[in-house]
């Protein structure tokens, strides 16, 4: 187990390193345009050249890469071109906001999708199964931006029940979180439910379930005590990997509802070519994605005794 852990962590570090190089190379593609972005379109050729020289852009590429990486590891993320403040001052607040949004989404999505998945998988091919599957497909087919428009047309403009933006201008407001969470849950729950269903359906065909049924255990006990424990191993991995999808969905939802989160920051930075912010955001996104994948792997191994003891 220890060797496995060490190998997984080493692999994660290697992935992060290579990805940091790729992010760096892609974004440093055109140093001329960085100077233009910072100094504005009316700056002269000389001013740009001086700026590039002062900020070390004439150093060889690998020197700058290690400079940047060194700063990154020690917590110096550079300065935002657009906001003229250190990236550290913006990034962490935004990330915390997205964390709240993500947590709320998971708190709603996990119970909902697991319940539906188990209900569908219990009796494969039944009416209950087919209707849950089709409902899942219908909701997964509506892209996040479309459901955001449709839901706000209904609940904000039609019924006037909920606020249409989630800027949280007067402090944290739970009501403003409802629509963003709803959009994210509606798009994501179908997939997790489908995976849970597949896993549950497979467990239901095993011999030990047949034995439990045949020896006369009540159906509820068979499901709750015997089937669920095995059927929920695979969905665990799916849910962990879902965080990767959530990061994508968050960009759309935060943009639409003007929520001050990480996804909106990344989008703003990309549109403004705010290079240090993009780099920092990309590395955070990669870190979250890679570490959840590692956690999913480790958790899967731990949860499944057949792998743990072999």
């Amino acid at each position: 187990m220890l060797v496995f852990l060490a190998r997984r962590l080493a692999y994660m570090a290697l992935t992060m390193l290579v990805l940091s190089l790729i992010v760096f190379l892609v974004l440093e593609f055109s140093p001329g345009s960085i100077a233009t972005k910072v100094l504005g379109p009316y700056s002269s050729e000389e001013q740009r050249a001086i700026w590039l020289e002062e900020n070390g852009y004439n150093e060889p590429l690998f020197v700058r890469y290690f400079d940047w990486l060194g700063g990154f590891v020690t917590g110096d993320l550079g300065e935002s071109i657009k906001y003229k403040v250190p990236v550290n001052d913006i990034l962490w607040d935004r990330l915390a906001n997205t964390g709240i949004l993500g947590l709320a989404t998971f708190l709603v999505m996990i119970p909902l999708s697991l319940t539906l998945g188990v209900l569908a998988g219990m009796k494969e091919g039944s009416f209950q199964d087919r209707s849950i599957s089709v409902v899942g497909i219908v909701f997964t087919s509506v892209p996040e931006f479309a459901s955001a428009v449709l839901l706000s047309t209904i609940f904000v403009f039609g019924l006037g029940l909920l606020p249409g933006t989630s800027g949280m201008t007067d402090g944290f407001n739970f009501v403003e979180l409802i629509l963003p969470v709803m959009v994210l849950v509606l798009y994501d729950f179908g997939y997790v439910a489908r995976m849970t269903r597949a896993s549950m359906a497979e467990v239901m065909t095993t011999h030990y379930i047949r034995t439990a049924v045949l020896k006369g255990l009540p159906y509820r006990v068979v499901i709750m005590k015997h089937a669920l424990r095995n059927a929920l191993i695979a969905p665990f991995t799916v849910i962990m990997l879902q965080i990767n999808w959530l990061l994508s969905g968050v960009i759309v939802v935060e943009f639409f509802f003007a929520y001050k989160g990480f996804g909106a920051l990344l989008l703003e930075a990309s549109l403004a070519q705010d290079i240090y912010v993009i780099e920092a955001c990309a590395m955070v996104a990669v870190f979250v994605a890679v570490s959840t994948q590692t956690l999913a792997d480790i958790g899967y191994t731990y949860l499944n005794p057949r792998i743990r003891f072999s």
Binding site: T15, V18, L19, I22, V23, V26, L27, F29, S133, V134, I137, V138, T140, S141, V142, P143, E144, F145, A146, S147, V149, L150, S152, T153, V156, F157, G164, N244, W245, L247, S248, G249, I251, V252, F255, F256, L266, L267, S270, L271, Q273, I278, C281, A282, A285, V286, V288, A289, V290, Q293
Partner: protein, 296 residues
Amino acid sequence: MADVAADIPKREPLILRILKSFVLLRESGVAMIGAGIIVFWVLMALFAPLVAPFPPNATLAPMLPPFSPFDGPEGGTFWLGTDHIGRDILSRIIYGSQTVLIYAPIATVCAYAVGILMGVVAGYKGGWWDDILSFVANLILSFPVLVLYVIIIATVGASGINILIAITFASAPGIMRIVRGLVLDLRTRDYVAAAQTRGESSMWIMLVEILPNARGPLIVDACLRLGYVTITIGVLGFLGLGLPPPNPDWGGMINETRTMAQVFPWMSVFPCLAISSLVLGLNLLADGLREISIKD
């Protein structure tokens, strides 16, 4: 030898076999509904100039609600209303289907070409080919997809070609993983050993012997992926990173008009329904195909 050859039934011509596989669809109601929706949009795209009541970029009468009559010389009705600068929404949705139905399949085919090549080589050759290709695929897959798109498009700029490249780059590794898994299983089959004994080149074995036998799961995956790509093109348009205006593009239409949704909801609601229905069609077809393939 001649007798044995005579016993093997002749293969039907390719067109007949393709037609027969469409008849198979009738086994699943869900697949039929899905296929119906897709055929509807394909017909809309093909006959857009005949079906659309107005030219898509003509500014006629701004901000009219659905079912308003057109006062201009040609007459006619704005069935779904007009947008903020007076273009007919129904016509723009119909022409917008051309945009989606051109870009999404091309992007999917490109992604499949790259993904299949990577997957077949990694699965069949094994060894360090597999190590390197799998590592590259894992690297790309560990990026959140939309973050990858946003960075690529924001760096290289928004244009049709760049969208195709970004989608290919981001989807190929997922396809490669599926193909690799299938090939790892298929390469132990007897017909592969037979081809190796005959002395066929590895290129021939990979593409002619192994690949056609992996088509079942790939067709289902292609349907689902076409849905994702449709969503992606919509999302990019919605975020303002899609095709430059005034091309009618569903995501772009929603982006242009969503801030006015409180007063003019029809401007953004109908494009939303259009893209959702197309993706729904693809997902239903994929689900039905999977059901049929399990039955066999």
